[in-house]
């Protein structure tokens, strides 16, 4: 039994080996991901059958269904999926270069850097600068943090151990700084604060999806192309330089790719933790630790995990606490007040304005506020449960 299948082209000067098990796993996961998306779109205050979901996505079906699918659920779920992919890919990269399965962007401080920058932005700049720049602030925060960690860990070169230890320290510091800001600004309601402490994709719209997608489209292929360098680094610094890898340069480059992915994810979803930790771990169990195969599997798993976690948190607490009908009534009222929302992908500025309006409107609605915060809570928790399951 050969476990690899070779692919050669008659015309092109390219050939490569495909790991059969990785290929089948990837296909299974992709199908599972698509199914989870469809199911997740159908679940919630308003139940829809998968065929209704498909019809609504394609633009036919009931008006109500189309509105809910296009303006609320689909962008949110897609955002969740993309955030999961980005976090998992970032985590895989980090675990590869640090050579430890417990490393992930939220543990070595990159996530908290992005969170801090976002909170600073909201506290001090949101009066003067448009909220559209928030993701940029989060990205900048992530990059600055990564550079700071890298510089502090530099001592005639950077070793994986120092990188991770300095990262953990910085993580604590930035986490504390975020908490100081949250305490200092009484304007913060706690539910807003939780976004930056726990993370959520609540209220994501097409603008957010459009914001994270390009980062994924650029950096995941780049990471994939650099897979052989990650494989070399996984062998340890000595062996890696022995096989001709420019260890320091590659480590820096891969770290920056990981930061870009994690930063984009945080900009959209806040500090969602554990996905970057577990997804690569699960992927390694499934297909082994060769990075070229592990990356896509891990990314798909990450997307799947966040979508499932988000679906659970979105649905479980409604049925538990409030009757669905009442919430739905409130919801519908909220949406019909804001006609701008029913438009599909819009130009960024307009879109964010409407997003803000919707949030502002829903904030006034006490029930929605509570359910929003309980969703946030569950995010941390369901991710936590996943982690427990793995450990």
């Amino acid at each position: 039994m050969k476990s690899y299948k070779s692919a050669r082209f008659a015309r092109l000067p390219i050939s490569f080996l495909l790991h059969k098990k990785t290929l089948t796993t990837a296909i299974v996961l992709a199908v599972a991901g698509a199914a989870a998306l469809l199911l997740s779109v159908g679940l919630g205050d308003m139940r829809m059958y998968p065929q209704e979901v498909v019809r609504a996505m394609l633009g036919s079906g009931a008006e109500e269904h189309r509105l809910v699918v296009h303006t609320i659920r689909l962008p949110r779920i897609l955002a969740a999926f993309l955030v999961g992919i980005a976090l998992a890919a970032a985590g895989s990269l980090l675990q590869g270069i640090i050579r430890n399965p417990l490393a992930s962007p939220d543990i070595i401080g990159i996530t908290s850097g992005a969170s801090l920058a976002a909170v600073v932005f909201i506290s001090y700049l949101s009066a003067t600068v448009s909220i559209v720049w928030l993701p940029v602030a989060a990205m900048t925060g992530a990059c600055l943090t990564a550079l700071l960690i890298y510089m502090l860990a530099w001592r005639r070169g950077v070793t994986a151990i120092r990188l991770v230890l300095v990262g953990i320290g910085i993580n604590f510091l930035l986490g504390s700084a975020t908490k100081v800001l949250l305490l200092k600004n009484p304007a913060y309601t706690s539910s807003q604060a939780y976004v930056w402490l726990t993370g959520t994709v609540y209220g994501s719209d097409w603008g957010m999806v459009g914001m994270i997608a390009p980062w994924l489209a650029v950096f995941i292929p780049v990471a994939f192309a650099l897979a052989r360098h990650v494989n070399a680094l996984q062998l340890g610094d000595d062996v890696a330089s022995g096989v001709g890898s420019a260890v320091q340069r590659h480590r820096f480059g891969l770290l920056m790719i990981s930061v870009a992915l994690a930063g984009a994810a945080v900009a959209v979803g806040g500090a969602i933790s554990f996905v970057g930790l577990i997804a690569p771990h699960m992927a390694r169990k499934l297909v082994g630790s060769s990075f070229g195969g592990m990356l896509p599997i891990s990314a798909l798993l990450g997307g799947l995990i966040v979508v499932i976690a988000d679906t659970i948190s979105r649905t479980a607490f409604f049925t538990l606490r409030y009757s669905g009908r009442r919430i739905y009534g409130r919801r519908r009222r909220a949406f019909f007040h804001l006609p701008a929302l029913s438009q599909s992908p819009c130009v960024s500025g307009n879109c964010h304005a409407s997003h803000r309006d919707r949030l502002a409107y829903e904030r006034r609605d006490k029930t929605d506020c509570i359910s929003a915060s309980s969703r946030l809570a569950d995010h941390g928790r369901s991710n936590g449960f996943f982690c427990l399951y793995i450990l």
């Binding site: 001592r155 953990i168 504390s176 305490l183 933790s273 915060s373």
Partner: protein, 337 residues
């Protein structure tokens, strides 16, 4: 100079000086804050309390419990840190970094919100259980793999578990619709607003833990020479490790029951006192206790002034002080390995 600083007399004098400083710190903690209170009022509040005087009420109900709590917590956490550093032979170990504090606070929050437990002794027991679960989990997680308990692995395991426990804590608090300040308390720790009864409930455990730490100190000296040497010298290392672990859990658990997961004290203090004490645990333990009390008292006082009129929880203050220390140790201490 080397000679002098190594002599027992010098060390005893140093310890006495430290105690004097702690006493001064206690007074300062009662005197300074939003309103400054004179020494005479503090003295009278302690001896013949007059409920008609505003200043005395402040001292009696708020500042005195707070000062004593800070001192006790600081001492306990510092000693727990010293022991855990010896136990893991890792200069970066600390009850909060290894997730022990967060495990305890997570279980307390669970007991309060889900099981509606509110009696202090019960909560203290719950806190120990949480600390013990976290300690065992970190140990097991860190020991997986061929090379055993490396500093990196145990720190990473601790960081992962801290993150896990604090996200559980957050989840439970948000579901119960608790405010931001309550949330901060269980996530970072604080000594504000604690009553003396709370401290009294855990004081016996703290005292027992301290005595245990002093007793185990000389065994720790043997243990830090390395597992094999210690066994060769006739020490039952497994037993000593288990005892030391229990003491750490008792000290950390009782601290968390009163003040939440205050971090980094156990990391900084033993590192700070080592230049004075050398590596002899019989000196490190008492010095850590004194220095820990002093550090937490001063961190708490400083936290009252940094973002006036709000107050910084002491847990955030210690993280702000502790992180640079952590990074410095990480750069220096582990570079040689």
């Amino acid at each position: 100079m080397e000679r002098l600083s190594a002599s027992p007399l010098f060390k005893t004098v140093g310890l006495a000086l430290g105690l004097v400083l702690v006493a001064a710190g206690l007074f300062a903690s009662m005197a300074f804050g939003l309103s400054t209170i004179g020494l005479s009022d503090i003295y009278r509040a302690a001896t013949k309390y007059d409920a008609a005087s505003n200043a005395q009420i402040i001292v009696h109900t708020a500042r005195m419990p707070r000062a004593f709590t800070a001192a006790a917590i600081g001492a306990c956490l510092a000693v727990a840190g010293a022991l855990i550093q010896g136990l893991t032979r890792n200069p970066l170990a600390d009850p909060s970094l290894l997730g022990i504090n967060y495990g305890a606070s997570c279980l307390i929050v669970f007991a309060v919100t889900r099981l509606s437990i509110s009696s202090l002794p019960a909560l203290t027991a719950v806190s120990f259980a949480g600390a013990a679960i976290a300690a065992i989990a970190v140990y097991m997680l860190g020991a997986i793999g061929r090379d055993g308990l490396t500093p990196l692995k145990i720190i990473l395991a601790g960081a992962a578990l801290s993150a896990l426990f604090s996200s559980f804590t957050q989840g439970m608090l948000v579901l119960n619709e608790q405010g931001l300040s309550e949330m901060m308390f269980w996530l970072t720790g604080s000594v504000a607003g604690r009553s003396l009864e709370m401290l009294q409930a855990v004081l016996p455990v703290m005292a027992a833990g301290m005595i245990g730490a002093l007793w185990i100190a000389r065994h720790m000296n043997v243990l830090t020479m390395g597992e094999h040497t210690a066994q060769g010298l006739g020490q039952r290392t497994a037993l000593i490790k288990i005892f030391a672990g229990i003491i750490v859990v008792a000290l950390a658990g009782s601290s968390v029951a009163v003040a939440g997961p205050v971090g980094f004290i156990g990391l900084i203090v033993p590192t700070l006192v080592r230049p004075f004490t050398g590596s002899d645990y019989r000196w490190i333990v008492p010095y850590s206790a004194v220095a820990g009390a002093l550090l937490l008292l001063s961190a708490d006082i400083a936290g009252r002034f940094l973002i006036r009129p709000e107050e910084l929880p002491v847990g955030i203050m210690t993280a702000i002080i502790g992180t640079p220390a952590f990074i410095a140790i990480a750069r220096k201490g582990l570079a040689q390995k």
